[in-house]
């Protein structure tokens, strides 16, 4: 049985975990001091050796990304931290930054030193004002403590509420003051990113994982996780569970184990479907309870590890309704740049609304799948791909339920049954 391995979340239960004192009490900022004394290339090598992979969803090896930055080119380099956590279900960076903003700042110092950048920009979603205040305070405290401002500066930039700005190149456009839309690649950010300068864009959790790797070494980090997915990570459990929250465990843990460790499905109910990594990763069902939640394991089972946002839905949930809600989100958030995503999500919502209202036909299901086929892999960025995942996967596992809507002339579920206030009475 895999155990929880709190590293990032080790001290979140302390009252002052978010303060610089609280952070320093447990050895905070010793890793950056150690790193600043190291050769930048040695840090990159160490991070490569640790096996740390991007925690924003794609799982690209972090050290390798850093290594792409051309060295000795006499140009400004930038570190950009993607804190625009906006995916439905994804909720790891927000609590991490609330509980321990300094670990990100320390990670920024180390990463900047490694890639020879003088500036780090943290791009945070604008809706989380409480987190913005907390990170701002942490940055201010780090400056006061002389940890920042000595050759490395950190700027917090607040997004204006667009999901697309979590896409790294749209984020860069937004950061530059333009409307956020993904950029054509190449050039990749490592060559021409922010202000056309070599730029590393990393997720909050990726950067926050670095101080512990510096402090404890690559071997320590490698000791956790699976063959190709090293280390520990935050699994965000939400939905129909008794005890939702962040569970930090080695990569490769299964949902069954996490549910056991956390307190299980909503009492009296059974698991119906779940997302392994947020709404844009294909759905899993109870048959996937033992899939190892690492990059390879989830892929092999037909989904993506994504952001490890485990949204749990029990048997009271109408999958058509859930998928419609997600699709409405993607339609709302499609940036409009490319045709498949812009027009496709517009159409998907209309088809799904009809299906949910019992106005669809079985032919509409075929049309829906064909439409998804015309969007998936045809869009400019991954937003369009993500929009199709819940639809195709839900039809794969719950085709009968879609048909039931058609034959029943509407949704056969009681929508109240899936709510927290179910059974509370009128």
């Amino acid at each position: 049985m895999t155990k929880l391995t709190p590293v990032l979340s080790a001290h979140w239960d302390e009252k002052d975990s978010f303060t610089i004192e609280g952070y320093k009490r447990h050895g905070g900022y010793t890793a950056s001091a150690k790193a600043l004394a190291m050769d930048p290339d040695a840090i990159i090598q160490l991070v490569k050796d640790s096996g740390l992979r991007g925690r924003g969803g794609a799982g690209f090896p972090t050290g390798m990304k850093w290594g792409f930055i051309p060295q000795g080119d006499n140009r400004e380099h930038y570190l950009v931290v993607n804190a625009d956590e906006s995916e439905p279900g994804t909720c790891k960076d927000t609590p991490l930054l609330m509980a321990n903003p300094h670990v990100l700042i320390e990670g920024c110092i180390i990463a900047c030193h490694a890639i020879r950048a003088k500036h780090a920009f943290i791009y945070i979603r604008g809706e989380v004002t409480h987190v913005v205040r907390r990170v701002n305070q942490a940055i201010e405290d780090a400056y006061k403590a002389g940890l920042l401002g000595n050759g490395i500066d950190v700027v917090l930039h607040i997004g204006a509420g667009a999901y697309i700005c979590g896409e790294e190149t749209a984020l860069l456009d937004s950061l530059e003051g333009f409307r956020g839309q993904p950029r054509l690649r190449p050039p990749f950010p490592a060559i021409a990113g922010l202000y056309a300068r070599p730029t590393v864009v990393n997720n909050v959790e990726s950067i926050a994982s670095v101080p512990a790797i510096i402090a404890n070494g690559a071997e320590w980090y490698q000791s956790m996780g699976t063959e190709k997915s090293k280390g520990a990570t935050l699994y965000s459990l939400s939905g129909h569970v008794n005890n939702p929250g962040q569970f930090e465990a080695p990569l490769g843990i299964t949902l069954r184990e996490i549910l056991e460790l956390s307190g299980g499905i909503r009492t009296g109910h059974t698991l119906k479907f779940w997302t392994p990594g947020g709404s844009s990763t294909p759905l899993f069902t109870a048959e996937h309870l033992d899939v190892p939640l690492d990059y390879e394991g989830v892929s092999a089972a037909g989904s993506l590890l994504g952001t490890k946002a485990l949204q749990i839905f029990d048997e009271t949930t109408c999958v058509v309704r859930a998928v419609l809600r997600w699709t409405e989100f993607y339609k709302h958030e499609s940036c409009g740049k490319c045709t498949p995503c812009r027009e496709g999500t517009w159409w998907l919502v209309q088809l799904l609304r009809d299906l949910e209202a019992g106005k669809g036909t079985e032919a509409d299901l075929a049309k829906l799948l064909d439409l998804c086929d015309n969007i998936m892999g045809r869009s400019f960025c991954a937003l369009g791909d993500g929009a199709t995942s819940p639809i195709t996967s839900s039809i794969k596992y719950f085709r009968d339920e879609y048909i039931a809507h058609i034959t029943h002339g509407g949704c056969p579920f009681d929508p109240v049954a899936s709510t927290l206030f179910a059974g509370a009475g009128a």
Binding site: S334, G336, T339, R342, W346, D373, N374, G377, F380
Partner: protein, 782 residues
Amino acid sequence: MTTEVVDMITVVVDGFEVSVPKGTLVIRAAEQLGIQIPRFCDHPLLEPVGACRQCLVDIEINGRAFPKPQASCTIPVEPGMIVKTQLTSPVAEKAQRGVMELLLINHPLDCPVCDKGGECPLQNQAMSNGQGETRFEGVKRTFQKPINISSQVLLDRERCVLCARCTRFSEQIASDPFITLNERGALQQVGIYENKPFESYFSGNTVQICPVGALTGAAYRFRARPFDLVSTPSACEHCASGCDMRTDVRRGKTLRRLAGDDATVNEEWNCDKGRWAFKYVTSVDRLTTPLVRNSAGELVAASWPEALAAAAKGLKAAKAAVLVGGRATYEDAYGYSKFARIALGTNDIDFRSRLSSNEEREFLAARVVGSTTTYVDIDRADHVLLVGFEPEEESPIVFLRINKQVRKRALKVTAIATKLSIGVEKLKGEFVKVAPGAEAGAIASQSLSAKSVILVGERAAESAGVLSAVAALADSSNAKIAWIPRRAGERGALEAGAIGNLLPGGRPVTDASARVDIGALWGVDSLPSAEGKSAEEIYAAVNAGEIGALLVGGVDPLDGDNSQGALAALDKAFVVSLEIASSAVTQRADVVLPVAAITEKSGSFLNWEGRPRAFDTAVQDSLNRSDLRILSMIAEEMGATVNLATVTSAVKEIASLGKWDGARVSMSKVSASAQPAVSGDQFILTSWRRLLDLGTLQQGEENLAGTARATVAVISPKRAGALGVVDGDKLKISTSLGSVTLNALVEDIHDDALWAPRNSRGSQLLVNLGVAHGAVVSVVKV
């Protein structure tokens, strides 16, 4: 000639090999084989964006296939690349059909009433690469329609496929980023800024490259269906850039003009004036019949024989001179040139109906006639020096060409000017600020190389010594000179010898062998040998009683230095006027002969490069004759043989001229005049014409006029402070002749100078003040 070595890459498209230069995009490599991949956002002159996803194809490189179809408009060819388009890949075919279906779900089916219907890339490609029936049964996106994004351009947002061609053009080509995409998802739309109107001189190109009917021109909207139009290749008559154009005519009336496709000149662009100023041809003032002044002093309609006889009689009766405007075609100018020498026996001819000088005339004969500087020299230049020339206002395609190099490789641009213009700012040019009249002094200190190009405008003639300094700089640096007049016909008129010191082909009139050359061609024994008078001298000679008759073609007497003197001369002399419409000249003429407008005849212009820009007759059934034909008829009536009955005959005769390899006119050095000292309420006036102004050929074009730049008087911050003037204050600017009152604008301009537009609404300087550049004016805040 330098040859550029280009790496070629061989790729396979649909089983066929093709070799293309390195960097070529897949979509264009396919074009080389005649394989048309459907596309919307792709445009060969805009940077790739990959937004519409219509051009998806399957690609593998050295056996490694991309896992999903790729946008062929964004991927350059690579060695070992195998491309499968819709023709050979079922996956690509389905992807394209899917994207097409998606593009159409929110696109209205209003093709029957859409201006683009019949020539619409969306319509055409929906037929070629789409499916007949849509599967979409839902609710389409709708918008209020149309909204005008300028007085010229209307936007129907529901038709827009969001390809961003218009916004990319405005940003990347025109450097006028006044339109942008707003909102997101399917509600994304083209928008303008709240406080910055879409005032771009190039906005019409967005209408032309719009692949659907989303952007339409206000002047053409709902006027015609493309299949009712007869299109004729034409050349633009508005300036010396030399744009290739297309004129679309329905039932004898021009309904629209489009930019033609000429990679060497205008690429695929033109300016809004060239596109949208053509109603003058059908204006109510058009002359339709000859007029002869009767004994009571009234102009009355007359028959052609009557009018020709009257013209011949009057021109024979007195010493006569010829004034031909800068808008004559090359062939017509040649006709005037020949007519002056043969029928009138004089070299008193001048095409420069504008501010000019004898220094300029020498410069044109010594440096410009026959010169071969071209757009390619701008493309390759290490430094472009602008002297008396505002490219954006005075030759917009030259501006675009410089801008292209500025954007591409940060071409260095220096402007010697009195005021920093919007255009030079966009070119990121170095602004060498001089007082009006002091331009010459700033030229010598420029360091240029043999790869540099000096672009000299016609306004260089307005300050003494400037052209001498330009010639000296070119000699010392080996830089190339290009003279870029505003009007389309001036270079042709120069080559045709419609000027007092030159015969056709740059032959000096004072050179005996040159006269023998031309005399032999024309079949005459002798040609006048003395240098002729300039336009200004001709008017003066009329007023002094030395010249008694004038043949005037397409001249506005108010364009010159001494407009009062010009009008007096026209009143005094016997005037034969060849004109398209009623004017200050026809009103004073004794014989008025209507001539064909540009669309009613064939011919050519020589653009600033000297490149022939030939055009065909667009309106076939006009009864109007070209100037050339009428001149031949007058000559016949006078007993002389001009013998140029058709444009073709002139073209042939010009072609048989041969090259002149004799001596050129040499240029005597002219020094700059002393600068007047100004103080207090005195300023030295400086001005230029804006692209969109009160020009005769823009009359009646209200939509076009709506995007003209505001009429302002510009003074420097220092002088504004001294006078207590802030932006928007009214300034009354006066000379002894009159005054204009304009809104003040405080900008980067020489402290001695006041700039105002030369011929804009409320500011017609030559008419209102009698001066335009270098003269002292007094200014008061009112």
